[in-house]
């Protein structure tokens, strides 16, 4: 049976093909027949095709090992794809040389499951790091940053509700606070697209819901295009306009959230 992107596959998922909104003709993120192999017989992504329009929020779901993280990482070439194309904001990422790649990465925020803050630096310094793509190594420490940059970083911190912790060292934060700072760092990038790989998976349920709400609201306010992966179907249902399901490295379905049969996803997670 052929697995076609944008088409429901499998008996459990019984919905008509998704209609991709035509409002914005050139997608912000376009993944075309992306393949990733780790070694000759370990194909983690098989011809994944996906298109995300400006302002959309897309959730990527799927079992452990289905290739969600690999997909997001291939988009900014934290992992080199084996075949296929990725275009972000009119740049062919897969073909980009180092300079061009850096320029694209500046415009794409990435939020990791682990916050990945520099532990011995202050919260403010960590947020300012988001500007490093623009300003170069100068933004390594808040003390070296310009007043304008410090002001902008404080604004980003304010938006995640942590302005009063600006001077605190990053290794003295709770998990939820750390992840908020990571979001502030992504905001500091002034991103047009944000990719988030299980951004709240390391948080307890209530902190997770809180941070996820905050994240989704900020992205909506800024009209940032978002792709996030999650195992929490509730988060996908609440915060995504579209849900893409991966199974064994292939797109299993790609549907508007309203049409996703959340109660019948057993197949997706079956071994």
């Amino acid at each position: 049976m052929a697995h076609l992107a944008h088409q429901p596959v499998g008996g459990a998922v019984d919905a008509p093909p998704t209609v991709i909104p035509l409002a914005s003709p050139t997608p912000v993120l376009a993944v075309d027949a992306l393949c990733k192999r780790f070694g000759p017989d370990l194909e983690v992504l098989s011809a994944v095709t996906l298109s995300v329009s400006r302002g959309e929020s897309v959730a990527v779901i799927g079992a452990n090992g289905s290739g969600k993280s690999t997909l997001l990482r291939c988009c900014v070439r934290l992992i080199e794809p084996s075949a296929g194309r990725v275009r972000i904001l009119d740049t062919d990422v897969t073909a980009a040389r180092r300079r061009v790649l850096r320029r694209v990465r500046q415009r794409v925020g990435f939020v990791f499951q682990r916050h990945n803050l520099v532990p011995r630096l202050s919260v403010l310094s960590n947020v300012i790091h988001g500007a490093m793509g623009r300003t170069g190594a100068l933004a390594w420490h808040q003390g070296a940053a310009s007043p304008a940059m410090r002001g902008e970083a404080m604004h980003c911190l304010e938006r995640v509700g942590l302005a009063e912790l600006a001077r605190r060292r990053a290794d003295q934060l709770s998990g939820g606070q750390s992840q908020r700072v990571a979001i502030a760092r992504a905001l500091m990038q002034r991103p047009e697209v944000v990719l988030a790989d299980e951004p709240v998976a390391s948080l307890d349920p209530s902190a997770g819901a809180e941070v996820m709400d905050l994240f989704a609201r900020l992205m909506r306010d800024e009209a940032v295009t978002v792709v996030f992966t999650t195992h929490n179907l509730e988060h996908a249902r609440q915060h995504a306009g579209r849900v893409v399901a991966l199974r064994g490295g292939r797109v299993s379905f790609d549907l508007e959230t309203a049409r996703v049969p959340f109660d019948a996803l057993g197949d997706l997670y079956a071994r």
Binding site: G109, F110, V118, M132, A137, H141, A182
Partner: protein, 268 residues
């Protein structure tokens, strides 16, 4: 009722493992080498015993240590320490780029990595007195040759340990900065060095201790420092002066070690 403890398990392995022929041969070879080496040292109990009165006489002549040139000695001692400090400082500063080049994952290219590693090994394995003689011949007698020697010495030590510290830090933050469009310099300055800093400061303090110890003997080959004074006093049979210099050296080295370990303790 309590369960009976098991009386015996499976048989224990033998107490000794019979060595293989090869390892037996290696042991015999090592023992032979040791005996042969002991021979070259011309061990002679009689010479040691006959030397005892001479040692006693020398110690006697050292007592009491001379105080006539205290001021002069203190000044030379301070010069020696300044030499160690400057040499360490230059060494630490030069070790930073060297260590980046020698750290896996940060080095810009494979050949650069191997070259940096080779350079560090070379700096470390050639003894400091050899460096001192080399620099005395090339830049002339005096403390400048000493500073260069200590710089090279420090690079051999700090280059290695800085590189290790940089390799060991968590790569997550580095990845985050790279993903945000930061270049290599930004990643190193923003994520690697802040995380590796405590370990790097500890290494630098060790390097300073090492340099202080070295600096007192560099004078023996004319590379500046208090060593030359010690040699002169000995050569002119002013053993009481020599005693004062030895005590001064002890105070300096012990003092630097104390301060350095106190600082290191505060870091951790």
């Amino acid at each position: 009722m309590r369960a009976e403890p098991a009386r015996s398990g499976p048989p224990a392995p033998g107490r000794f493992v019979r060595p293989s022929a090869l390892s037996f041969a290696l042991w015999v070879g090592a023992a032979a080498l040791l005996l042969w080496s002991l021979q070259t040292a011309e061990l002679s109990l009689s010479r040691l015993v006959n030397g005892l009165p001479q040692m006693a006489r020398l110690l006697g002549e050292m007592m009491p240590p001379a105080t006539s040139r205290l001021e002069n000695i203190a000044e030379t001692l301070l010069d020696t320490f300044r030499m160690a400090l400057v040499g360490t400082l230059f060494g630490v500063l030069l070790s930073l780029p060297l260590a980046v080049a020698a750290a896996r994952g940060l080095s810009p290219a494979r050949p650069v990595y191997y070259l940096a590693r080779a350079l560090i090994t070379f700096f470390r394995t050639v003894p400091d007195l050899v460096w001192a003689i080399f620099f005395v011949v090339t830049v002339g007698l005096g403390p400048f040759a000493g500073v260069l020697t200590l710089t090279v010495d420090t690079m051999g030590y700090c280059g290695r340990f800085f590189a290790e510290a940089m390799e060991e830090v968590d790569t997550g933050p580095q990845e985050a900065l790279r993903t945000a469009g930061s270049g290599r310099a930004g990643v190193i300055i923003g994520a690697v060095i802040p995380s590796a800093l405590p370990s790097m400061i500890a290494s630098s303090l060790f390097a300073l201790e090492q340099a202080t110890r070295s600096s007192v003997i560099l004078g023996l080959v004319g590379a500046g420092g208090i060593g030359i004074e010690l040699k002169a006093s000995m050569d002119m049979f002013e053993y009481d002066q020599a005693a004062t210099i030895i005590i001064a050296i002890f105070i300096l080295v012990a003092g630097v070690e104390r301060v350095s370990s106190a600082l290191r303790a505060r870091l951790i």
